[in-house]
């Protein structure tokens, strides 16, 4: 292979700055989407575990819709189609006046998509708490909300930490799809460097390393959390 390696480009201006901006954007989009996904997903998961049929229909529809349509298509729909479907004034505002519409759209699309996946995990976690626990909580006079907050959710979240780790990892990887609607996140920046310098191998290697460092950090963090919340005397769940 005749390839002139030149790792130096990565630290030359403006490419080093581009890489830095790309990393910052990837982190910002992923973390913001993660916050939306965790809060909305938890809420939907709780309602999905309720006994009300009407409620399950609503949450089930959300989950099926957002989980089964490809994320790439969802990004396009939110970015290109939704503004056209809205009342004219709202659509114009979205396209013209909303600052950084592509970033906001990417965060919302990634957040709503991941929320559907987290909702499934949370509902499964609640279902895995033995039925006698909610019975004991209610028998002692706790309200439904209190029973969830004090008894069911603390147990469900411990069950859900391992699958949540993989959801969080996926958010960072999925954030690269935002480049298709013009967000300059890490993958887009490396593409940009490659087209300016023709040193694509270096740029993509750098991106690979960054994604791996992010994944390692997330995994380590979640392991720490899992250890912290582990219940003394209970063997770790496999």
């Amino acid at each position: 292979m005749n390839y002139a390696w030149n790792w130096g480009v990565l630290v030359q201006p403006p490419y080093l700055e581009w890489l830095g901006q790309g990393i910052a954007m990837t982190l910002a989009v992923s973390i913001a989407a993660g916050i939306i996904a965790l809060s909305l997903g938890t809420l939907i998961g709780i309602f999905h575990s309720s006994t009300s049929g009407a409620m399950r229909l609503v949450t089930g529809s959300y989950i099926n819709l957002f989980r089964n349509v490809p994320l790439l298509l969802q990004m396009f729909l939110w970015f290109f189609v939704v503004p056209e479907l809205l009342p004219k004034a709202a659509g114009t505002w979205l396209k013209r006046e909303l600052p950084n519409p592509e970033i906001i759209t990417a965060i919302v699309a990634l957040g709503l998509f991941t929320a559907s996946r987290i909702a499934v995990q949370v509902a499964a976690g609640i279902a895995a708490v033995p039925g006698g626990q909610s019975m004991a909580a209610r028998a002692s006079g706790l309200s439904t909300v209190q029973a969830y907050r004090l008894v069911l959710l603390p147990q469900a979240f411990r069950i859900v930490v391992p699958p949540l780790t993989s959801e969080f990892l996926t958010i960072f990887k999925n954030s690269s799809i935002a480049l298709t609607i013009g967000v300059y996140e890490l993958t887009a920046r490396t593409q940009q460097i490659q087209s300016f310098t023709y040193q694509g191998f270096e740029a993509f290697t750098a991106a690979t390393v960054v994604y791996m460092v992010i994944a390692l950090t997330v995994t380590t963090l979640m392991t720490v959390i899992e250890r912290r919340v582990a219940i003394p005397g209970q063997s770790a769940r496999v």
Partner: protein, 245 residues
């Protein structure tokens, strides 16, 4: 005299399967009633209907003269006045013994942390488990867990206690320590409804025995009478089987 628990015409079915058929029972203040009957006869369901954690389709329940509302949420306040002890303890595994005992005291009765802890200490001393307050349930034996579960219920100052087979999940050598606590409670005048196969406990503590079969209350009798000469053929058969063991 106002009965502590009045159950009138209680009926319940799962789908088309009737589980409770027109059951009525009054329990006097300070009375101990033991419920027995074959597996699947509806004993657990009956007990869970008394404090409304299982909704019934028909019938009226009053606790200490106050009707239990049919809406589960509205019943929470009355439910808090009735202690319940389960076959599988149902301690909260993520909380320490002390936190288990204080949770409902703080969040339902709105007691301060100090008040709740003081209450817990007193009760733990009674059951001889003061050294376990910082332990988690999984670090305790079954017998210890069930005694803690009883303490957790008593901490709410209940007007009555419900037990659903409190010793069935225990190793034989631990049954005695739990029954001893229950016996002491009975002697102190606690109103108790106890589902159990421990006929020794029934003889020692129960004022009356209720015999259930196929969702029906077949017989209610004074304890001595129930064991000496049960009125129904079904109860006689049940007793001969269970006492043969």
């Amino acid at each position: 005299m106002v009965e502590m628990i009045r159950i009138n015409g209680l009926s319940k079915s799962y789908g088309d399967v009737p589980v409770l058929k027109n059951c009525s029972l009054d329990v006097a203040r300070g009375e101990v009633v033991v419920i027995c009957g074959p597996s699947g006869s509806g004993k657990s369901t009956f007990v869970k209907c008394i404090n409304g954690i299982e909704p019934a389709q028909a019938g009226r329940i009053a606790i200490d003269g106050e009707d239990l509302p049919s809406k589960p949420a509205a019943a929470a306040r009355i439910r808090a006045r009735i202690g319940m002890v389960f076959q599988h303890f149902e301690l909260y595994p993520h909380l320490t013994v002390m936190e288990n005992i204080c949770l409902a005291q703080i969040h339902v009765l709105k007691r301060s942390r100090e008040e709740a802890k003081a209450k817990a200490h007193g009760l733990l001393r009674r059951v001889g488990l003061t050294d376990k307050e910082a332990a988690y349930p999984s670090q305790l034996s079954g017998g210890q867990q069930q005694r803690i579960a009883i303490v957790r219920a008593l901490a709410m100052d209940p007007v009555a206690m419900l037990f659903d087979e409190p010793t069935s999940a225990l190793d034989p050598e631990m049954i005695g320590e739990v029954l001893a606590v229950m016996l002491e409670l009975a002697r102190e005048g606690m109103t108790m409804v106890v589902v159990t196969h421990e006929m020794g406990f029934a003889k020692a503590a129960a004022d009356r025995v209720v015999f259930m079969d196929c969702g029906e209350i077949v017989e209610i009798a004074e304890t001595a009478r129930f064991f000496a000469e049960p009125a129904s053929e079904r109860a006689r058969l049940f007793l001969s089987r269970i006492l043969a063991h």
